[in-house]
Structure formats: C-alpha cells, structure tokens
C-alpha cells in the first residue's frame, strides 16, 4: 500500500515542524550529543540537564531537518522530560514511531529515529 502524503503531513506534524517544542541550546547542560543522517543531511543535537536520581530535569534540541525528524524530536523531548535516564534509555524505535502516529516508509525511518539516536548518544555520555 502506498503511503499518502496527506496521512504523513498531518496537522500535528506540520504544527510541530513550524512551532517545535524544547528547541534551543540548553546552557548550562550536563551532556550533549550531535547526530546526523548521511542520507538526507539532517542534523540534531540533544542537550540534557539531570536532576536528583538521574531525572531528566531539562532537555532541548537544536539543528535542522525535515518535518518528520523535527516533529519526532519535539515529541520525544516532551515525552522524556522529568523521566529518569533509565526510562528514556528504554524507549524503542517502535515506540518512537507510535508517538508520531503516522505511517513511516522505509525511506523516512531514519528521519523518524534520528532524534532518538541522538538522545541515546547523549544519555550514554552521562556517567
């Protein structure tokens, strides 16, 4: 079944693309990690400040990318804020796609998961 553009570019995705959540450079932060996609040139950096009990006190993202990667990283940062490092590390690729709530073709999977990849990279830097 072909995926229709109308199903992908839903109001919520476009809203988050135009008005992203938690966007910017978090300063000061405890860890940050930059990841990119060779395929499309998308580029995301995640910044995290931890609180007591390894709770994600604050989180932000910067960089540039397509509507899907940008909506995904907005949803993801909103989802993990105030959760623990362990909770965040347990988010699966499938859960990330489910959060977006749109069909993701194989060609766009990298876009959908780029923010999660960057988040995992940042979390691993926390010791």
């Amino acid at each position: 079944m072909a995926i229709l553009s109308a199903d992908v570019y839903k109001e919520m995705i476009l809203d988050l693309y135009k008005n992203p959540l938690h966007r910017g450079v978090l300063d000061p932060c405890d860890v940050w990690h930059r990841d990119g996609s060779m395929f499309c040139g998308d580029d995301i950096t995640i910044f995290i400040r931890f609180g007591k009990g390894k709770i994600i006190e604050d989180i932000s993202h910067s960089g540039h990318g397509c509507a899907i990667s940008q909506a995904a990283v907005s949803l993801l940062t909103e989802h993990v804020k105030k959760k623990t490092k362990d909770d965040a590390l347990h988010i699966t690729n499938e859960q990330m796609v489910a959060m977006l709530g749109i069909p993701i073709s194989p060609a766009r999977m990298g876009c959908a998961l780029l923010g999660l990849k960057a988040l995992r990279g940042a979390l691993e830097k926390e010791t």
């Binding site: 553009s5 570019y9 135009k18 040139g41 990318g65 397509c66 509507a67 876009c111």
Partner: protein
C-alpha cells in the same frame, strides 16, 4: 521531430506515469543497451583474452570494440582508455598514484563545486603529504570565477582537478580555460566529466587535459563501469594500483613485469557485459547526436526556468550559457526532503539533500536542495507535472501559493 521516444526505455513502459527527473544521479537505460548486454550473457558469456575458442574471441572482440567506441567518443586513442568501476574509482586511483609527485608546501586546486568523489581523495592526499587544498570560487551567479582560478594556481600547484559540470547546481565549468592556466605552471590536469559527459561533446585533445574520468550510468549505460582517459605518455609513466591477472608480461615467484597501458590498469576480470553495454550506450548517444541533445536541453532549460522561478527559489546560474539541465531549488519553510517525499508520492522522481557536495551546500548556507535533472527523454509535460507537484507540496505545508 523527436529523435528519441520514451518507448525506447523499458522503465517508461513499466511505469507509464513516471516523471523521471533524477537523470543527474543515474540516466535510464534504453533497450539497445540492455539487448547488447543480454546478447553477451546469452550468446558468448565467457572470459576475454587468452581464450583460443570462438566464444572467447568474440567476447574479446566486443570488449575491445567498446574501448574503440569510447576512444572515438572523446577523441582519444584506444590505448588511452582504461575501464574502471566509475568516476569515483578513477579519481581515487589518480589520487593514489599521483601522491609521489607531491611534496610539503605544494598545492592542489579544485573548485567550490566538487562532488565528494573529486574532493575526498584529494583531501586525504593533502593530509598525508601536508599539501594545501585550494578552491576556485564562484561568482554571485553560481558560475566559476576565472579570476579566482588565476590567483589560486601558482608555481607550487601540482594538480588541478575540476568538474566539467556541477551535479548539484548545473553550473558548466570552462574547463579549457582552467586547463590552460594549469599548463602554464606545469600542473597535472584532471577533469571530472561524470556529469558533463551526458551534456556536452568531449574532445580531450581540445580540452588538453592529462586525465578525464566519467561513469557509464550517467550516459544511459549500466552501473559498475566507468572510464579513465589518460594522455598516452602520462599512462605510460604511472604504476598500476591493482596488480593481478591479465596485466603481466611475465611473472615469477619473486618478480613480475607489467604489460603496457591500458591493460596494466585492468587487473582481474573486468565487468565485461557492462563495458560492452557502455559501448552500446555511447552508440545510442551518437545516434541522437550532441546537436540534438543540446538543443533539446536548452529548450527544456528555458521552459523550466520560466515555470519554476515562479514557484521556488532556484539555486544555480541564471544565464543559460553557464548551466545545464540540472535545477536545484529550495522552498522557503519546507525542508528539501519533505519536498522530494511528497513529489515521490505523485511519481515524480527528484533528489533531495546535499547531492554529495556537503561542503558546497554549507558554503552556500543551505541545508540542502531539491534537484530536478533532465535527460534525453525529458519532456515539457514532465516539467508541468513537477510544477503541479510543487504546488501540492506548498498546499500541504499551507504556504501562500
């Protein structure tokens, strides 16, 4: 009267609704090329050279004939044509074997436009040999700034390697002028014709370059095969990178002597069907002729520019004389990847991203572009469909139309 029909391309028979605007990445392959390769596999699919039986003699004859066809196509001699796996192979080979001609403090001159294939091999060489990389600048119109070339090429320039045509912006580079400047300081000259070869007739004697590379799949031929042209005396002076079968005059357990060029650069069994297919692709292009190709491309470029500049921001030379059928564009507020995805859902094939020219995109302050590129089968209807597709993209993203 059109000299070619879309019906000559099986892809269009299988996908009648396809708008293919990604020829700069790979050109579609006509029946004649596929038939010629199938003929090899069905009638004489054996190894070349050294076989003393009819089938091998035929395979060798067809393989050698393809070399002659390529030589004729770019006005070289057959012994100046080396088959490679593609332009990337040719450029990596040159960067490896020319390394010894470089010393600390020398420089290599490229342009801002280069594809990664004509950048990264030189970048690596420059790091190894502590030499400087210099980049000929662009004008405000995305054309090559020849004054900048004049300033950058000096007595310490050992290699000048430039694209003939930008795959990212469509810019046509005046390679004859650049080669002439390089010759004045005795630099080795290399032309990356991967993009240019499908659009302009090439005469290596007229360009006067030492080397020129291109790939088969950009000229309606198969993937996996390409060409390295080397001036006869230059090839004679170079050592092979790969050594092995089919390239020795004599070999013992302790020593070996190579054959002459081009065989000494073609160790191992080559992609025989692909080489023969490349020959057929060149015959296909020669049947159409560059006069027709350039006229058709010019008409399409004029048409496309008029239509597209109303819809998008074009990134490339405005003067038709300085450009070819490659149109890079951006739409304010919409990422190129989203543009290409939505167009793709409407069977319009364009490419999006940095087009293997990341440094160029960064230099221009862009995250990437969407790119529509034309071939001999492209029609004005394709461009109309693209324009409709772009309007749909903007509608989905709620842009002001």
């Amino acid at each position: 009267m059109s000299l070619i029909s879309r019906q000559q391309f099986p892809i269009f028979r299988n996908h009648p609704n396809l708008v293919y605007l990604d020829t700069a990445a790979s050109a579609l392959v006509p029946d004649s090329v596929i038939a010629k390769m199938n003929e090899y596999y069905e009638e004489y699919s054996v190894n070349i050279h050294r076989g003393l039986y009819d089938l091998s003699i035929r395979a060798s004859r067809e393989y050698d004939a393809a070399r002659g066809t390529v030589a004729d196509f770019i006005h070289a001699k057959p012994e100046e044509i080396v088959f490679t796996s593609g332009a990337t192979h040719g450029l990596n080979f040159l960067a490896s074997v020319l390394a010894d001609t470089m010393s600390e403090g020398d420089n290599i001159v490229l342009t801002r436009l280069e594809h990664h294939a004509n950048l990264l091999p030189w970048q690596r060489l420059a790091k190894q040999k502590k030499t400087e990389l210099r980049f000929i600048e662009l004008t405000n119109d995305y054309s090559l700034d020849c004054d900048s070339a004049q300033k950058l090429i000096d007595e310490r320039t050992k290699i000048v390697s430039v694209t003939m045509m930008s795959n990212a912006l469509g810019t046509v580079v005046p390679v004859e002028k650049i080669v002439a400047m390089a010759k004045q300081v005795g630099a080795t000259t290399i032309i990356d014709a991967a993009q240019g070869v499908a659009h302009r007739a090439i005469d290596v004697k007229n360009i006067d370059c030492d080397f020129l590379v291109f790939s088969g799949h950009k000229i309606y031929g198969p993937t996996g095969v390409g060409v390295l042209y080397g001036r006869r005396e230059m090839l004679a002076s170079l050592e092979p990178f790969f050594v092995g079968g089919d390239m020795v005059r004599i070999a013992s357990y302790t020593d070996a002597a190579w054959t002459d060029a081009p065989q000494k650069f073609e160790a191992g069994t080559p992609p025989i069907a692909e080489v023969i297919g490349l020959g057929a692709a060149i015959l296909f292009m020669q049947t159409i002729g560059f006069e027709y190709i350039q006229q058709q491309e010019h008409d399409l470029c004029v048409y496309a520019k008029n239509i597209l500049e109303k819809e998008v921001t074009l990134i490339g030379p405005k003067e038709h004389i300085n450009r070819s059928g490659v149109f890079s564009f951006v739409i304010d507020g919409i990422h190129p990847h989203d543009v290409a995805d939505i167009l793709g859902s409407k069977h319009i094939a364009v490419r999006a991203g940095h087009h293997c020219a990341m440094p160029l995109m960064e230099h221009l302050g862009l995250v990437g572009t969407a790119r529509a590129s034309f071939g001999v089968y492209t029609t004005k209807e394709d461009i109309d469909r693209l324009a409709e597709g772009i309007q749909e993209v903007k509608r989905i993203f709620r842009c002001a139309l």
